[in-house]
């Protein structure tokens, strides 16, 4: 009789453990190369910023930020790009900006991060270093996508089992959200040192351009922290 009571208790413990650890899908959102040892600081360049920024729900943003709906995509992404680069340059004073064409001339490929998470981007060819005016920058941060929206999360964009789901039209928004994907590229050895998909949720009541700036800065900060934490030191 005691044995069966013990068994019952064990079963309950297992069930609770399952709920706590989440037997549902769990994601790993970043991937480090085994030889990613040191975070680049003064040798970092950035590319992809010209085309990565995308604004979703542009009509909503146009209304809230009081911008002409025809120009909101261009203006808001320009604003975010600048805020992002400003923040990145604050963190990496020697940051060099490369034109997108440095990598977009290579075919688009997908890179596996987790079982169901893949990022898409342009990666330089094996054996070919990206050149910047006669010299090859040692490390390049390739920004693949920088999606600005409201109440979006990365699962919906990057889990291939969920990407076809349509979300309901919403009237209210609780968060200003940013989903971004990037790769730290070792340009000398042509290998992806660190790739990640990040997400920023910034609570909003009445959205202003300042909210945009804060959220974008937070995204830039996340990149910095993740690049640091991803290194196999």
């Amino acid at each position: 009789m005691e044995g069966s009571a013990l068994f019952k208790r064990l079963a309950i413990v297992c069930a609770i453990a399952c709920i706590l650890t989440g037997c549902g899908p769990s994601y790993r959102w970043s991937k480090s190369h085994p030889l990613y040892k040191q975070v680049p600081y003064s040798t970092l360049s950035i590319t992809g910023t010209e085309n990565a920024f995308i604004l979703t729900r542009s009509k909503w943003f146009a209304k809230k930020l009081d911008i002409d709906p025809l120009k909101v995509q261009e203006e808001a992404t320009k604003f975010c790009r600048q805020a992002f680069l400003d923040e990145m340059k604050r963190a990496y004073p020697a940051l060099k900006q490369l034109p997108d064409s440095a990598v977009t001339r290579f075919p688009e490929e997908s890179q596996k991060i987790d079982d169901r998470v893949f990022i898409k981007g342009h990666f330089p060819e094996q054996g070919v270093s990206v050149m910047d005016g006669g010299s090859a920058p040692p490390y390049i941060l390739i920004l693949h996508e920088f999606i600005i929206g409201t109440d979006i999360n990365r699962e919906v964009f990057y889990d291939y089992e969920l990407i076809r789901q349509e979300s309901a039209e919403k009237k209210t928004s609780n968060n200003l959200s940013i989903v971004l994907s990037y790769t730290l590229w070792d340009n000398e050895n042509q290998r992806p040192l660190f790739s990640a998909v990040d997400e920023v949720q910034h609570p909003i009541t009445k959205i202003t351009k300042d909210d945009l700036r804060v959220a974008v800065a937070e995204a830039a900060k996340k990149i910095r922290i993740n690049l640091y934490e991803g290194a196999n030191r």
């Binding site: 085994p34 030889l35 075919p107 094996q126 050895n189 042509q190």
Partner: protein, 421 residues
């Protein structure tokens, strides 16, 4: 003296080991007999001599036949292949598995797939070592990666490469027609589940009243009961009050399954059960033996799921649910010297003509080479009578019904022959 020779042996062994190269990973490419080895390097100068490598291969591996070694000019003239070759030179590292050395360029991937049955041997000078990788048509990752110590002696280097990377068992190289046939063959794991599969088999097993993992006292009152005076027991609900429950079982099965999913199975089961006569009762002194032969005929519905584990092995897991009729044939005899049986013998208990009951359980069929099966079955079977009949005026006078509900657990292992349509 013994110690010294052992030490020498150890030193020689260690030296040989140090001389042999390091393998970072090995996914075991096929080593063909009489192979064509295409040597590919990003360096201006080849660290080995192709002819000498061939001789080394023949020295190291007697099964290799007549290897042909040449520089892989087609790839050395191709800029995409050379980009990758240069890249690989920088990226071969003991920490990197094959997935980190994956060829990404589609044009080179296509080239790898058309290597056919040639072996591409990649060599790159990395300072004091020579990096080695082997490619074949089956993968766009290198199949083996490692290093050997660099020496200027091209013969020694060839020996070392041959010893480290080409010492495995060789396989006969297929002719063009054989390769084509192999390509056209369906995948061994791709097979359609047959529309109908039938089997017939016999099995032996064991049954007992006590169902494993249930409390003993569920059955104890029945199994411990004995028969006194040819008919007196504690109760008569279960047949296990009268006869032994733990006996071997023999069964015959004929069945079929549609689409590997739903099936029917006809079974016949036989067992011999001894009556549990109470030996303290002197009335049995006249008795020679008293047994009941249990014959059961049943029909099961089955639900199965098939797993193709190997080309020669399919495993079907199934659950079944069915009904059965049980017949008990009495076999009783008195001792030869007894002339007239006792009164109690004449009014001894009699079982019903037939009992009906159910079967529930599960099992697995391991089918080898599509025909020869080993089946394991376990389950619970019951047999009884409808106890809730309307009382008749002479119910009190009628004999009580024996075996209202008799349950047992069984397990069996059998041999079967399978056919598929």
């Amino acid at each position: 003296m013994k110690h010294i020779s052992f030490a020498i042996l150890l030193v020689v062994g260690l030296a040989a080991h140090a001389l042999a190269g390091d393998i970072y990973f090995n996914k075991h490419p096929v080593l063909w007999e009489n192979p064509d080895i295409l040597i590919w390097t990003p360096d201006a100068e080849l660290p080995i001599d192709p002819k000498e490598l061939c001789l080394s291969l023949k020295r190291v591996n007697s099964g290799i036949g007549e290897p042909k070694c040449r520089i892989f000019g087609e790839w050395e003239r191709d800029s995409i292949a050379m980009h990758y070759a240069n890249w690989l030179k920088k990226n071969i590292d003991p920490k990197l598995g094959e997935e980190y050395l994956h060829i990404r360029h589609p044009a080179l991937m296509a080239k790898v797939q058309s290597i056919e049955d040639n072996i591409v041997l990649y060599l790159a000078d990395n300072g004091n070592k020579v990096s080695v990788a082997i490619f074949d048509e089956t993968s766009t990752n290198p199949k083996v990666v490692g290093t050997v110590t660099k020496t200027n002696d091209k013969i020694a280097l060839g020996d070392e490469i041959a010893d480290t990377f080409f010492s495995g068992k060789t396989k006969r190289r297929l002719s063009k027609e054989e390769r084509q046939k192999l390509l056209d063959e369906p995948d061994e794991f791709y097979q359609e589940v047959p529309a109908f599969r039938a089997w017939a088999g016999v099995s032996i097993g064991y049954s007992q009243a006590h169902i494993p993992l249930t409390p003993d006292d569920w059955t104890e009152s029945h199994t411990k009961s004995k028969v006194r005076n040819y008919r007196v027991t504690k109760d008569s609900v279960s047949l296990w009050n009268f006869i032994e429950d733990d006996d071997p079982l023999l069964s015959v099965h004929v069945g079929g399954i549609w689409y590997g999913f739903i099936g029917l199975e006809l079974i016949y089961r036989f067992a011999k059960h001894k009556v549990k006569t109470d030996e303290r009762d002197s009335v049995y002194e006249e008795l020679d033996h008293w047994n009941f032969y249990q014959h059961e005929v049943g029909l099961n519905a089955m639900f199965a799921r098939s797993y193709a584990i190997k080309k020669w092995l399919d495993i079907d897991l199934f659950a079944f649910l069915g009904f059965q009729y049980s017949f008990y044939v009495e076999d009783i005899a008195l001792k030869e010297e007894v002339e007239k049986p006792s009164k109690a013998y004449n009014v001894r208990i009699r079982f019903e003509e037939a009992y009906k009951g159910g079967l529930i359980g599960g099992g697995a069929q391991f089918v080898f080479f599509k025909h020869y099966g080993i089946a394991l079955r376990t389950g619970i079977s019951s047999r009884g009578r409808d106890m809730y009949v309307d009382p008749t005026p002479d119910a009190a006078a009628a004999p009580s019904i024996i075996g209202g509900s008799t349950i047992d657990w069984f397990a069996s292992v059998g041999l079967e022959y399978h056919w598929s349509l």
